[in-house]
């Protein structure tokens, strides 16, 4: 009786066995790799804003302190997006007629807020509190990156739970003097290995890894 299958089918059979094995191992690995990639977290993608506000100029070149605009960061869970009125003092003298500032003028006239696009987004079931982090000596930079070098701001860190935990498990590594929290490109005067624990003791910083620290 004639052969049912051509000779190459042997090879095909072996190959498919191999492929199956690779698939079983490869697909999960691939997914795990992907969720860690910047594509998954939309990291490094500049977020367009209604006003081309340039942090590189304001925070970087002009050296305006973060807290000038994000005024409630020290006393509220949210750092606060500046009300339109914050722009006025300077921009009633500078760039008065700039078309790029039109939305600001319109907002002041109509009383309608400017609609900004959120850059760093945490899920709603995460209760992050800016004030306590800042007051315990965690720098803006630690989570938001070198904002002074971003002309258009983007998400600089993964903001995954694992990433949060990495600091919550060993906070000392990220601490700086409270006076220095807003400094960009901060470098500790003495070795962080020595400074960190000192600050941790001074600010009563504990490693908080209970679930309800963030989830309520």
């Amino acid at each position: 009786m004639a052969a049912l299958f051509p000779r190459w089918s042997n090879t095909a059979a072996r190959a498919s066995l191999l492929a199956l094995a690779l698939l079983v191992v490869g697909v999960p690995l691939g997914l795990m790799a992907f969720v860690r990639s910047s594509n998954a977290s939309a990291r490094y993608e500049p977020v367009k804003q209604p006003i081309p506000f340039d942090h590189q100029i304001h925070a970087g070149r002009l050296g305006i302190n973060c807290v000038y605009c994000h005024a409630t960061v020290m006393r509220s869970p949210t750092a606060g997006i500046p009300p339109t009125q914050t722009c006025v003092p300077c921009h009633s003298t500078v760039w008065i007629n700039s078309s790029e500032l039109a939305p600001v003028r319109r907002s002041m006239q109509t009383g309608k807020p400017i609609t900004w696009n959120r850059v760093d987004r945490l899920p709603d079931f995460v209760y992050f509190d800016h004030s306590v982090h800042v007051n315990k000596g965690v720098g803006c930079e630690s989570c938001h990156g070198r904002v002074d070098k971003m002309s258009t701001v983007y998400q600089a860190k993964p903001l995954t739970m694992g990433w949060c935990l990495s600091c919550h498990r060993m906070p000392a590594g990220q601490l700086r003097p409270v006076e220095a929290v807003t400094i960009m490109g901060y470098t500790p005067a003495v070795a962080q290995a020595r400074l960190g624990p000192e600050l941790a003791a001074k600010y009563h910083v504990r490693s908080l890894t209970s679930c309800t620290t963030c989830h309520r």
């Binding site: 049912l4 299958f5 059979a13 860690r36 995954t160 694992g162």
Partner: protein, 473 residues
């Protein structure tokens, strides 16, 4: 239906039965045993249509559940587990007989398993397909089921290995994989003979594809045997482990009625018990329809019935011990659950039905005639299957609905969705099994041939069945 085929080797019934009857040479055996896959029997389409309808109902109600929420079931607080888990445990239990028969008995050199193991294994696979659906389905957020599997997540957290549920996943999936391999490996030689005898090229191709180029060469047989025994050795401990792990889903809780040390063996026994009943329920009609009386003889029925009797007695013992322990513990909650709530509470009727079905029914099998009478075996087995389902219901629901604080006591009643899903899962099982007997050699031809060869040469010691003397006399 009198399914017993009178042996033409002049053996009087009762003394014992041969494993094979009729005059067959290898060729006729093969033709005979392959015949079901060549032509469709009338009635097959009927059953198949029915099972398809049921399966659609299954899919529909599952979709509805996932879309609307677990609330479409009857579950509540305190009874947060009910039908889904009952069905899960029931199906896993049924799944046990297959491997038990094929692997366990193979290692014990029980030759009679030869003509029934294929069916039993198929049953195991299909039962596990059902069983593995329910744990997924009963999750409030089924789409996050993979959080039960240990993998390095970006959340930086792992499953809780103190809980029995992640182990459940592991146990059931392992068991499923091994059973599947075991079944398929056993199939290879028969698929080959199906390939060789298929009428059309297409069929030859298909069966050939799955036969993996089996030619029955000596070296192939040698490796086949090695692999088969190896898998059997692998599968055997699983028979014990799987339902032990399942039983821990209850035993690790502190709930009266669950918190019990005898659960693992108790569950394993119950599992094999129900599994054997299912084997009988499937075997008898097949033997009738496909005229398999000559390979599936009273000897098989007798052996399985004896096993069921044994399991039934062990189960009865477990029941008694449970009650004794509840009384002996002196714990008011234990005593209430076992001695008050179950026998006299809102579900008392079910409790007594269960006791009758699981404890009284098998006592029939002390009588030789009943062990081999098709109708009695069939009905008794159905009863035992029902009884074992009710047992799981009693264990789960009656423990939950009245626990420690009387303020949280509440009755549980299933919804129409619960019933539909149960009916649907049985249909899915039937659906798969019907496809199996239609397209796959449902009796292990090679093993039967082997057996007949051995019988012919009188090499096989059939003492366990006790029919050799009769034959040679």
């Amino acid at each position: 239906m009198s399914a017993t085929v009178e042996p033409d080797t002049g053996v009087s019934a009762g003394a014992g039965w041969p494993l094979l009857t009729g005059q067959h040479d290898d060729a006729s055996l093969t033709d005979h045993l392959l015949s079901p896959i060549w032509q469709t029997r009338p009635g097959w389409w009927w059953l198949f249509g029915l099972s398809c309808a049921g399966t659609l109902l299954f899919i529909g109600t599952i979709t509805y559940t996932i879309a609307r929420g677990i609330g479409v079931w009857g579950n509540n607080i305190p009874v947060a587990w009910a039908y889904a888990i009952v069905n899960f445990v029931w199906w896993v239990g049924i799944g046990h007989a297959g491997t038990f028969i094929s692997a366990f008995l193979l290692l014990l050199n029980q030759r009679w398993r030869g003509s029934v193991n294929r069916i039993a294994e198929a049953m195991t696979i299909f039962a596990l397909v059902n069983a593995s659906l329910f744990p997924l389905l009963h999750l409030g957020r089924a789409w996050f089921f993979y959080w039960l599997i240990p993998y390095p997540a970006t959340m930086g957290v792992w499953p809780n290995f103190k809980s029995s549920l992640p182990w459940d996943v592991a146990a059931v999936s392992t068991y499923f994989t091994v059973s599947l391999l075991f079944w398929y490996l056993g199939l290879v030689p028969d698929l080959a003979s199906a390939r060789d005898r298929a009428a059309t090229l297409f069929r030859r191709r298909v069966y050939g594809l799955f036969a993996l180029g089996w030619r029955g060469a000596g070296y192939q047989w040698a490796r086949y045997r090695a692999a088969y025994t190896l898998l059997a050795a692998l599968a055997t401990p699983l028979v014990i482990s799987v339902h032990s792990v399942v039983s821990l889903d209850f035993a690790i809780a502190q709930l009266p009625g669950w918190h019990s040390t005898i659960f693992p063996p108790y569950f394993v026994v119950g599992a094999i018990y129900s599994g054997l009943a299912m084997v009988i329920v499937l075997l008898l009609p097949m033997r009738r329809v496909f005229r398999l009386g000559d390979v599936i003889t009273n000897a098989h029925l007798d052996a399985i019935a004896k096993l069921m009797l044994t399991m039934g007695l062990m189960l009865a013992y477990s029941y008694v011990i449970e009650l004794f322990m509840a009384w002996y513990s002196g714990n008011q909650f234990e005593r209430f659950t076992y001695l008050v709530d179950r026998p006299t509470g809102p579900y008392a009727v079910l409790y007594w039905v269960m006791t009758v079905l699981n404890v009284v029914t098998p006592q029939l099998f002390w009588v030789t005639r009943f062990r081999t009478s098709g109708p009695i075996l069939f009905i008794a087995s159905l009863g035992i299957l029902a009884g074992m389902w009710i047992e799981r219901f009693i264990i789960i629901v009656t423990s939950l609905n009245r626990d420690f604080l009387t303020s949280s006591w509440h009755f549980y009643a299933p919804s129409w969705v619960d019933w539909s899903i149960l009916a649907g899962s049985v249909s899915l099982f039937a659906f798969l099994f019907l496809l199996f007997i239609r397209f796959v050699p449902s009796v292990a031809i090679s093993e039967v041939k082997e057996l007949s060869l051995g019988l012919g040469e009188g090499q096989v010691d059939l003492a366990p069945i006790g029919s050799v003397e009769a034959e040679h006399a």
